[in-house]
């Protein structure tokens, strides 16, 4: 029982962490809360299937062999985010953060309506990787294979992202730009390169979330980005805006709290699980309004 709960918490929290990272990466370099992130996720889901308004989806990209399919969807997510940056956010680069945020809302609404036109509003069944629901015995617990894959993938992604930020040229420039964009530019760091890079990573992370959601639910729904976007946004706030470790920690914590509440609440209270969850969030923010890991960028010392 408790081992099962642990796997539930890790897989749910892991996905929240990946979604929150997608938002925190962009906030870090350009102080933009990208509310279109949820629609990036939804678009990556619909990229798997052919445009039609039928109730049952016909796979398009989803027919590719698994490794190619994953690469194609990650590439699609990255490309979509980079295109959105170039077309929507770049012209707004010097606008106020509020204007940028409103721009991201507008982009989100536009993308959602674009999906509605192409695919219709009804949720569609997608059968992708049907075998992954099979249970695996681990000691006393029975865990779906998919959950194990999700946990392994999340760990691999976090390690790879950490290495990329710590070791690569782009990672160094992204961290410098997140700390002080103007200073980074004075040292020759190209703003366009860093911001495009952040959007590409963020879009690829949105695609990861999309693949996991499709595999878990077997459904493509135009609205599916909204709920996870809300949780991911809360995770970035709780973690401390702009802090990547904070986003990961808070994403995991919210996933774990959600799984614990689901298992621990009495039956009558279970439908109100999210109310309890958000109450917890409010309590955390009352005690640490700056978030758990407030971007502790040292002020210049005199």
């Amino acid at each position: 029982m408790s081992l099962q709960l642990l796997f539930d918490a890790l897989s749910l929290g892991g996905i929240y962490a990946i979604a929150a990272l997608g938002i925190a990466l962009i906030f870090g370099v350009m102080k933009l809360v990208n509310f279109a992130h949820g629609q990036f996720i939804a678009c990556a889901v619909f990229a798997l299937i052919l445009p039609s308004t039928d109730a049952v989806a016909a796979l398009g990209l989803g027919l590719l062999p698994t490794p190619l399919l994953i690469l194609a969807i990650l590439g699609f997510g990255a490309g979509l985010a980079v295109a959105a940056e170039a077309l929507v956010f770049r012209p707004l680069r010097n606008a106020s953060p509020v204007a940028l945020m409103v721009g991201s809302f507008a982009l989100g609404v536009a993308l959602q309506n674009f999906l509605l036109v192409l695919y219709g509003g009804r949720p569609k069944a997608i059968s992708l990787w049907a075998g992954l629901g099979a249970p695996v015995r681990i000691g006393p617990a029975e865990v779906p294979l998919l959950q194990l894959i999700v946990i392994a993938a999340v760990i691999a992604i976090l390690l790879a992202l950490g290495l990329m930020l710590k070791r690569s040229r782009l990672g160094l420039e992204m961290r410098a730009a997140a700390a002080d964009f103007g200073m980074a530019q004075l040292l020759g760091v190209r703003a366009n390169r860093v911001i495009s890079g952040a959007f590409a990573l963020s879009g690829a992370l949105a695609a990861v979330v999309a693949l996991v959601m499709v595999a878990q639910t077997g459904v493509a729904d135009v609205r599916m980005g909204g709920q996870i976007m809300l949780i991911a946004f809360i995770a970035t706030v709780v973690g401390g805006m702009g802090s990547l470790p904070g986003a990961v920690a808070a994403g995991l914590a919210i996933g774990a709290a959600s799984a614990l509440l689901q298992a621990g609440l009495p039956d009558a209270a279970r439908p109100f699980r999210d109310a309890f969850l958000y109450a917890l969030v409010i309590v955390v923010l009352l005690f640490r309004p700056q978030g758990l890991f407030a971007a502790a960028d040292a002020k210049p010392r005199v």
Binding site: L172, A176, G182, M183, L186, L187, R301
Partner: protein
């Protein structure tokens, strides 16, 4: 030809004029101090040269090429580097990472390694603390890091804004000592904003005195201490 030429420069923030009709040239290898009271436009001048602040009017040239309008990323690539006011160290990055941020514009990998060695030799504390977060350094150490970081872009011209701000006099001595020896070693052209004209006179070089966005005097720094120009600039009738 002058290394750096400023011609009829004006900088405005909205309706506020920070600099107007400013012209001067800097020769290759020269050490030029910019001094003057608060609000004289010293930092705006450095901001305009580095591309961080847009010029409202006029042009800035380096080696005869026009810099104004290029923006900081491209100006840095032309060989002009900035040690900004308040040092603006990347506090969460390690000391060595701070030094490497500006090397992205270079293609000469081997020379980058040599320059890192030069920086570590000039500032041994940076070698000792290479893997420490830069935010944990003291103010003086951060100033040395900011200078070393600017050098890592392999500049020909370096702008230094108030390097002595908030530092103990002994530490300021050390900062200027290293700056001067690095200038000699690399053949740098230095433009330094320095509030203290006595400090500028002691270090030696040319000095421009600014007030209200204009140049009020230009000459050898040592001569200023004796002349009345300083008190005139600070306390005289507004221009």
């Amino acid at each position: 030809m002058a290394k750096l030429g400023i011609h009829d420069l004006a900088v405005r923030y909205g309706k506020l004029t920070a600099i107007s009709d400013l012209s001067f040239t800097v020769a290759e290898g020269e050490r030029l101090f910019i001094s003057g009271p608060n609000g004289a436009g010293k930092s705006s001048l450095l901001g305009a040269i580095s591309g961080a602040v847009p010029a409202a009017h006029g042009r800035i040239e380096m080696d005869g090429d026009i810099l104004s309008g290029l923006g900081p990323e491209r100006i840095a690539r032309r060989g002009l580097s900035m040690v900004p006011e308040g040092r603006r160290i990347f506090g969460g990055l390690t000391v060595q990472e701070n030094l490497m941020v500006g090397t992205g514009i270079r293609r000469d990998r081997a020379a980058v390694a040599d320059d890192l060695e030069t920086a570590f030799t000039a500032f041994p504390i940076l070698r000792t603390r290479a893997q420490a977060p830069a935010g944990a350094l003291s103010g003086g150490q951060q100033q040395m890091l900011a200078i070393a970081r600017a050098l890592m872009t392999n500049p020909k011209v370096m702008l230094v804004d108030e390097p002595s701000l908030g530092l103990a006099p002994k530490v300021v001595d050390e900062v200027y000592d290293r700056l001067c020896s690095l200038q000699a070693l690399r053949g740098l052209t230095l433009v330094i904003v320095e509030q203290s004209s006595t400090r500028a006179a002691r270090v030696g070089g040319r000095m421009i005195l600014m007030r209200g966005g204009r140049i009020v005097a230009d000459g050898d720094a040592a001569g200023f201490a004796a002349a009345d120009l300083l008190s005139e600039a600070y306390f005289g009738d507004p221009a």
